[in-house]
């Protein structure tokens, strides 16, 4: 009974090793694509260009990430935040809020990118005239920010 189990383990190990060996090149390629999407957003001046840039950021957000999970989660949150910002600039705060939500769902743990998303959420809510909720979002961002700065002070 243990022999088939060992065989399964060996196959899994082999597959994992192959994946681990293949991942650095895939991660580099993923990083290049993310960089391209941000470059497009940097160049976007007109409404059409901004919309196209937001769509490109969205495509990269949905693409299966390659590389260490903690880093790719941060990158995806940043992609969502930037897409939300572009929609906000285009006068689409509801769409912006959708992207904020998507970004926050990637990794709910406190981070500088969670705080950025909360700031974008607050700006979107202000655009929708919901000042109280906007303030709550900002206060939540302050909480996260304070916690991160405390960690930074304790472990410089």
């Amino acid at each position: 009974m243990t022999a088939p189990l060992a065989r399964v383990c060996l196959v899994l190990a082999l597959a994992s090793t192959l994946l681990a060996c293949a991942s650095p090149e895939k991660a580099r390629s993923y990083a290049r694509e993310v960089r391209k999407a941000h470059a497009k957003a940097d160049r976007a001046k007109t409404a059409d260009q901004r919309l196209a840039a937001a769509q490109q950021l969205g495509v990269m957000f949905d693409r299966p990430p390659q590389g260490p999970r903690s880093t790719t989660s941060a990158l995806r949150q940043d992609l969502a935040d930037r897409a939300a910002r572009l929609h906000l600039d285009l006068g689409e705060p509801e769409r912006a809020l959708e992207w904020v939500e998507k970004g926050r769902e990637v990794d709910p743990s406190p981070s500088v990118l969670q705080a950025n998303l909360l700031i974008t959420e607050a700006d979107s809510l202000i655009a929708l005239g919901e000042r109280d909720r906007a303030r709550q979002a900002l206060l939540h961002a302050v909480e996260i920010n304070q916690a991160l700065l405390n960690v930074e002070l304790e472990n410089p």
Partner: protein
């Protein structure tokens, strides 16, 4: 039909010597033959020896069959652990510069002071650059 009249010639000296040697062999044969009891005892000992050897061999085979998956599974677990660890990778940079820019931005936003959005955008861009660089760095 045996002809009684035919007289066998007397054996030659050489033949007699040969016959005597055979006779002496026959008379001593009993000394070399095992009694049935001794034969049975010997057979039982032999069987026991053979059985012990077989059971030892079987035990070794059983032990190998049972134990070989353990080191294999251990090695597999180790490899999977390494692969998972490489997938998890090092934590992303904390982004102290971005945290500081956020702090200034949030303080300004909540106190009504002039908001420096550009500083926050610049710090976010630098943090993004660090994240992408860490992903592109050889591991």
């Amino acid at each position: 039909m045996i002809d009684d009249d035919v007289v066998e010639p007397a054996p030659t000296d050489a033949e007699r010597e040969e016959l005597e040697r055979a006779g002496s062999l026959l008379s001593s044969a009993a000394h070399f033959e095992l009694s049935p009891a001794a034969f049975a005892r010997g057979r039982a000992e032999l069987d026991q020896l053979l059985l012990r050897k077989e059971s030892k061999h079987q035990e070794r085979r059983f032990r190998f069959r049972v134990l070989w998956p353990l080191p294999a599974a251990l090695a597999a677990a180790l490899l999977v652990g390494l692969a998972v660890r490489s997938k998890a990778g090092p934590p992303p940079p904390l982004g102290p510069e971005l945290a500081t820019a956020q702090n200034h931005f949030l303080t300004a936003e909540l106190t009504g002071a002039p908001v420096a959005r550009k500083d926050l955008d610049r710090a976010t861009r630098r943090y993004r650059k660090d994240l992408l660089a860490s992903l592109e760095a050889p591991r």
